[in-house]
Symmetry: C2
């Protein structure tokens, strides 16, 4: 246990569709009802399988959480790599990172990570890879606009942008959006005045 | 139910110290173990009172959560008002808001709010008051530095600063701080170059 990237101890290998359904049901329950609602019984109900199969396929709940997390994480990394293949621009950077936010699902995983050390390591390892990929994107975008890292480093652009997106996502969970429009308009005006358009 | 600022339906008024201990135990459990660990039995144990007293003092768990939230919220607002009495400067603004972060406790309340509508309204109402108080502070600080709202509006400074603090707090929960120092150093250098010192 405990090393990011480790093999998940799997007890079953014959029926990937059942395993997939268990993972999908876990993600669905986490996103809709939060980690407090997660039991093997509820997972079985949502997956449409006997709850004992959860134990059959996953040696522990932590292993199940790690596999569920990893599935979403790999999708996110693949999507970012796909977008980064196009021409990097600050507008495109803003469009992607300004909308990413911190999903409710990610918040649930972070909460679960407080009592599952191997899950925490898995999330931290992913967060680092994701931040590095974002940083490459920010660096290429600033470079294309001839904005020197002396003026503003790519990391600062990245953390301010991601932080703002997370703040907006948190506010929205509360049904509260004061200042969001004003801030986005200011950023978009700044981009319009200080960057060159890119073919989308 | 459901109106922010409403009176909490209280069944007990004779023993404020017991009531206080129940509220303090709830805050302690939320901060340390998360909302998943909250039961009247655990609250009773931590508070050192019979668990039936939780029901005696609070008509519902939602009422207990609202009172617990309100206690921390009023303290935060009072602290901000106290600080704002001094001379507002951008450095002081950064010092306070850059360290505020989104506490684990606040994250737990937001998670609880997803299934307690009256708690959600209470948090949203507080978040608005807090943001308005912060905005007054940011406005006064920019004004003192003669930075025109045309250059950067107080709301933009506020959301970028708060978002960054929240992002750092989330990262720290994962044991991950990549880019924090670089970003803080850049902001502090910017402040040193663009603002006038203030007697602290």
């Amino acid at each position: 246990m405990g090393q990011p990237g480790q093999e998940i101890r799997s007890r079953g290998s014959r029926a990937p569709e059942t395993r997939d359904r268990i993972v999908a049901a876990t993600l669905q329950l986490l996103a809709k009802e939060g980690y407090g609602a997660i039991t093997t019984r509820r997972i079985g109900e949502v997956a449409g399988v006997k709850y004992q199969l959860v134990h059959y396929y996953f040696a522990s709940m932590e292993d199940l959480f790690i596999e569920a997390f990893r599935r979403g994480a790999e999708e996110n990394l693949a999507r970012l790599a796909e977008i980064a293949k196009g021409e990097a621009s600050l507008r495109r950077f803003w469009k992607i990172h300004g909308d990413a936010g911190a999903s409710k699902l990610m918040a649930e995983f972070v909460a679960l990570a407080q009592r599952h050390p191997a899950l925490r390591l898995e999330i931290a390892s992913y967060a680092r890879r994701f931040r590095n990929a974002q940083l490459d994107f920010a660096r290429a975008a600033l470079d294309r606009e001839s904005i020197s890292p002396e003026v503003i480093p790519p990391m600062v652009v990245l953390l301010l942008t991601t932080g703002l997106a997370q703040l907006e996502a948190n506010d929205r969970l509360l049904g509260f959006t004061d200042g969001h429009d004003e801030t986005r308009t200011w950023i978009e005006n700044w981009l319009a005045a200080n960057t060159t358009p890119v073919k989308e």
